[in-house]
Symmetry: C2
Subunit: 123 residues, 2 copies
């Protein structure tokens, strides 16, 4: 059993995105990773995919998720269940931070763009 | 891609515990389950274990986690990383609901008590 507090977990950044890895192989969890992310107003993830399952749980703010030509509103309580290699993008369309947990069935998780090029991640 | 809202996800109850399964095999997620639970003031989970990894992310309230003779304070931002078959119990010791997400590397997840007897779960 490991106990952590989010305030002591390293913070990484991509433009407009604040990221913390709450759980991963480094903490002895092999089956999945748990990410906590905040997108600043006006910010977006790249359009991306990964070869693993992902569940996104939104906890605050307002945004949209682009997937297969559709736009889905996302706010506190929205849950996305993504199959492997589904291209998607999350955009903060509101005036407040868009906050979410991402759970991914890989550790580590390579992320690629729409053309299959690996997107380097700082975490 | 499936999109859900927590308000439309069935609610199950054990004494003092409100449970929703945000993601599982039923939603096409094979590698893990995501649970959202609220423990009422004074309530506790049973002392229990499961043969899979679990990560607990606390989002509000105040409680303690019993494990291996220790008591660990839990509040918003506390993250527990549990290895398979580690006996543990979560107790709400505060006056507000104790809220958490649990991510478990099994689907479905059999839960057993300290003597190895399966604890029937309504979800």
């Amino acid at each position: 059993m490991q106990v952590r507090h989010v305030d002591s977990i390293p913070v990484f950044a991509l433009p407009g995105i604040r990221h913390q890895t709450l759980a991963s192989q480094a903490g002895g969890i092999q089956a999945f990773e748990v990410w906590q992310q905040t997108l600043a107003p006006g910010s977006a993830t790249p359009l991306h995919r990964h070869d693993c399952e992902e569940v996104v749980v939104f906890t605050g703010g307002e945004g949209i998720m682009h997937h297969a030509g559709t736009e889905t509103p996302c706010a506190a309580g929205t849950v996305l269940l993504c199959q492997p290699n589904e291209l998607h993008q999350i955009v903060n369309t509101g005036g407040e931070p868009l906050t979410l947990y991402g759970i991914l069935s890989g550790s580590p998780v390579p992320v690629v763009d729409a053309e299959g090029r690996e997107i380097p991640l700082p975490w």
